[in-house]
Amino acid sequence: MDKVLTRLVGVEGSRTLEVARRHGAYKSLEAAVKLDPAEIVEKVKASGLRGRGGAGFPTGVKMSFMPKEPTPERPNYLICNADESEPGTFKDRVIIEEDPHLLIEGCLISSFAMRCSCAFIYIRGEYTLGARVLEQAVAEAKAAGLVGKNIFASGWDCDVVVHRGAGAYICGEETALMDSLEGGRGNPRLKPPFPAQAGLYGCPTTINNVETLANLPAIIERGPEWFAGIGRNERNTGPKLYCVSGHVKRPGVYELPISTPLMEIIDEHCGGLLREGSRLKAVIPGGSSVPVLRAEECQDLPMDYDAVAERGSMLGSAAVMVMDHTTDMVKVMARLSHFYAHESCGQCTPCREGTPWLEKIFQRILRGEGRPEDLDLLESVASHMQGTTICPLADAAAMPARSFISKFRDEFEHYIQHGRSAVAAG
């Protein structure tokens, strides 16, 4: 498969408009604005593209929820979610830093298809380099008339605004992101109303991940059939960025056809496990919020939405975290539980109270002070968090907790009985 999302990586000057245009940037936009917006939505539907941020919702269907006749009082908005914060995930950063015009073009194609007058790119605050690169790229695109008034003489106006977050994981959740973009604390909102009905400033809004939007220029250029031809079936299509970290020889971002088998990614693309003679123990396949897989569950697993779900986990952000046999799973879990306790926004009681409780109990087990009833207590706390809050952060904390305990129960019990790790004890 030739590269689509990362084709300019390594090309000298890829951030500049001149080099990007030499490689065809904005040609898809020029073609798109000659189409009827509904035609673009149909193309995206036919491509089978699903959201690359984690939820996997069909992108074309999401676009079709937007009102067809926005008014000046109630404009349509696009938000590009570049708040990449799911532990293990570093793929959007590659697009932002290396090919910002691909992202801007994707934002504009989507904005045209949904009749948006402004696209906001919400980038996580720590990505200061990415924010600078994007600001510069937007300025260049504006100066060239690609952003602003009457784009490609279509009579359609669209602005692009880059907005920096400031270090809150919760702002990757789409409704918290909108609160933050409006200048507030990032507290998630109840749904309904869904963003397409009442989103940013109460106006119809669609939120898409960076990688999702970066696929649009290729869908316009090469056609939905080409896109749908990549992958295992019509529900899992297109190129995909996998971010691999942990105990492999060559961690990094890989652009591969979706449905590439997990063990092929680890053994062939990443060069196998980091240390000679080590054995695979576990993989978190889609960012820290999804259930962990044991080594045997990683065999013959196409890395796509449906196959990973059938295995009881989720493709999520396709952040593959690889752990070899030396890994102390209790320590990993304790570390994860700290993350969620730190990042809970505090709005809903089960999450505000539950995430620190999970952390407290996992930490005491790790210190060798675990009690025999702790595993049941953890199960009880986690089960009361799942499905009881406004946003999925509580679920994101509870799911790994439950899966770690059920799949590596012997390690937790060893800690509780002996006060130390089963792994270090050999």
Binding site: S85, P87, G125, G167, G186, P251, M321, R335
Partner: protein
């Protein structure tokens, strides 16, 4: 506040958003860049500029970890300790930095040069462990590389950040 060029940039920022309140976060970033932290005076100034209550602005400041409400060392060392970095040995790096600087997490060296904090995943997992120093990402850390980095910072140099997330893509 902070002179004419600053005011001009403030006006530009406010104009970007459908409502002035949208500019709270960029303005907080801007005052922090000027002063190194967000002071109560700066919050009051932003509140007045955007027609908000100072308490509202303070509520935003304190929600986000990147806004700091007190002065930090000249170099803010932000070491990631989330899982991918943990798997690649960030705990050893943390221990080493603490020993070398003689400070604990959250503390500043007596000469005001370094403040050390641990942070949650910064999206640098393929080049773990990593540390953000002020705005810059330093990745693929081990004890030798950390020592070289701290040596350079102590000399007042700014070593080249990186290497960034693209290594395996360009090979």
């Amino acid at each position: 506040m902070f002179g004419e060029a600053f005011e001009k940039k403030v006006d530009e920022m406010v104009a970007r958003y459908p409502q002035p309140r949208g500019a709270v976060m960029p303005l907080l970033h801007m005052v922090q860049e000027e002063e190194g932290y967000v002071s109560p005076e700066a919050e009051a100034w932003i509140a007045q500029r955007l027609g908000l209550a100072p308490a509202y602005v303070h509520g935003v400041t304190t929600f986000y970890t990147m806004y700091r409400t007190s002065k930090q060392g000249r170099y803010l060392l932000q070491l990631c300790t989330t899982v991918s970095c943990m798997l690649r040995g960030c705990d050893n790096v943390l221990e080493h930095i603490k020993q070398r600087l003689g400070i604990e997490e959250g503390e500043t060296t007596a000469d005001g040069t370094f403040t050390l904090v641990t942070v949650e995943c910064l999206g640098s997992c393929g080049t773990a462990p990593m540390m953000q120093v002020n705005d810059d990402y330093y990745e693929d850390l081990d004890i030798e590389r950390v020592d070289a980095l701290l040596d350079a910072l102590e000399r007042g140099e700014r070593p080249e950040p990186g290497p960034g997330p693209c290594r395996v893509l360009v090979e």
